[in-house]
């Protein structure tokens, strides 16, 4: 079931990582939503091994993206550290639970989440930000950052923290079960329900998913479900690809590209549902 080390397969994984990393970066997600289906449907890797590899790429993406962004106040580290309590608890729970699920069950769950994510993505093409008076007291968890596009300081308070905690716990569990970052749940929730502007929500989520995925990845590693050479090939590809994706995403106002990728994600999700046996 687990393929032997070969230059060809290593190259295939590297290229798949690049593609997934680039598409993920364009959409503001990790590449996991594209990578897991490729590994399972394309390479016929058992679901748990695909999830293990994907989790390592989520960590790499989060670390690289956050290292470039921290210190510019777009990442709300105080909010991140509060929510991480819930996401890592979810990650630990999901990591333990993953061993109890059959691969086909996880694959179906992945399909459902991917389809919902694609729908949410199309829905969030219209960004909504709650803009507040710059002099307002943003409280202990709120934040303010300078936005290049509008040339203004964006301020926000965080509302409904308990709800954000619940969503974060669920996102953490999903992350460990399915090998995705979980930003797909947190970003819309923080944006729509908690009043965090989309860019700050995405940056804070990207900061959190590394620690979240680590909670799960450690458990997969301990179970021997992370094949080192496969993870190495894929992680290196994702690191290269996500750079390219961000470069394209910053330049182009790529609305149709995003619609296209959302459509691909929908198809991939349906395939995961149909082919799960």
């Amino acid at each position: 079931m687990i393929p032997e080390l070969s230059p060809l397969l290593s190259l295939v994984l590297f290229v798949a990582g690049m593609a997934a990393g680039a598409m993920g970066a364009l959409l503001g997600l990790g590449g996991g939503v594209f990578l897991v289906p490729f590994l399972v449907l394309g390479l016929r890797l058992p679901m748990h091994y695909a999830v293990g590899i994907s989790l390592t790429t989520v960590i790499a993406t989060s670390s690289v993206v956050s290292s470039g962004r921290l210190g510019r106040s777009l990442v709300n580290i105080r909010l991140g550290m509060v929510l991480e309590v819930a996401t890592t608890a979810g990650g630990l729970t999901g990591g333990i639970a993953a061993a109890m699920f059959a691969p086909a069950t996880l694959q179906r769950l992945f399909g459902i989440v991917a389809v919902l994510a694609a729908l949410a993505m199309i829905g969030r093409l219209e960004r909504r930000n709650v803009l507040l008076d710059p002099d307002i007291d943003v409280g202990r968890l709120g934040g303010r950052y300078y936005e290049d596009e509008s040339g203004a300081v964006v301020c926000y308070q965080v509302r409904r923290l308990p709800l954000a905690m619940v969503v974060s716990f669920v996102a953490g569990s999903i992350s460990s079960l399915l090998g995705v970052g979980g930003g797909i749940l947190k970003v819309p929730a923080l944006n729509i329900w908690c009043g965090v502007p989309l860019r700050a929500a995405a940056a804070t989520s990207a900061f959190m998913i590394g620690v979240t995925a680590t909670a799960g990845a450690i458990i997969y590693y301990g179970r021997g479900e992370i094949i080192a050479w496969m993870a190495a090939s894929t992680v290196l590809g994702v690191l290269a690809g996500s750079r390219a994706g961000f470069a394209i995403g910053e330049r182009a106002r790529a609305k149709w590209l995003k619609v296209g990728l959302a459509a691909i994600l929908m198809v991939v999700g349906l395939l995961m549902l149909v082919r799960s046996r």
Partner: protein, 98 residues
């Protein structure tokens, strides 16, 4: 922790994440290339595994560094929160290697 200290903490955490990933990527690439070129298996796979372990340890180190910084700043609430996250990650380690 005031705003200046928070920015300093952020930059410090950013450096940990950046250097951790860079080191891990170098080890992963070296291990992979050596494995593929038929180098002694144990040496090559030790490099690859080392790269993976550093990749997984980097976020853990980031959380530990935040906990220490919040403790030093006597910001007890955030010291407690980050310590909880650290304990959860140690819980994962305990589950993985029990």
């Amino acid at each position: 922790m005031n705003e200046l200290e928070t920015t300093r903490l952020e930059l410090w955490l950013g450096r940990i994440l950046g250097w951790g990933t860079a080191l891990s990527a170098v080890l992963l690439a070296a291990g992979l290339i050596l494995s593929l070129s038929g180098a002694p298996f144990r040496f090559a796979s030790a490099l690859t595994s080392g790269g993976l372990i550093i990749l997984l340890a980097t976020p853990l180190l980031r959380v530990a560094a935040s906990a220490v910084e919040y403790l030093l700043a006597r910001d007890w609430l955030f010291a407690a929160l980050t310590t909880t996250v650290l304990v959860t990650l140690l819980g994962s380690l305990a589950v993985a290697f029990r």
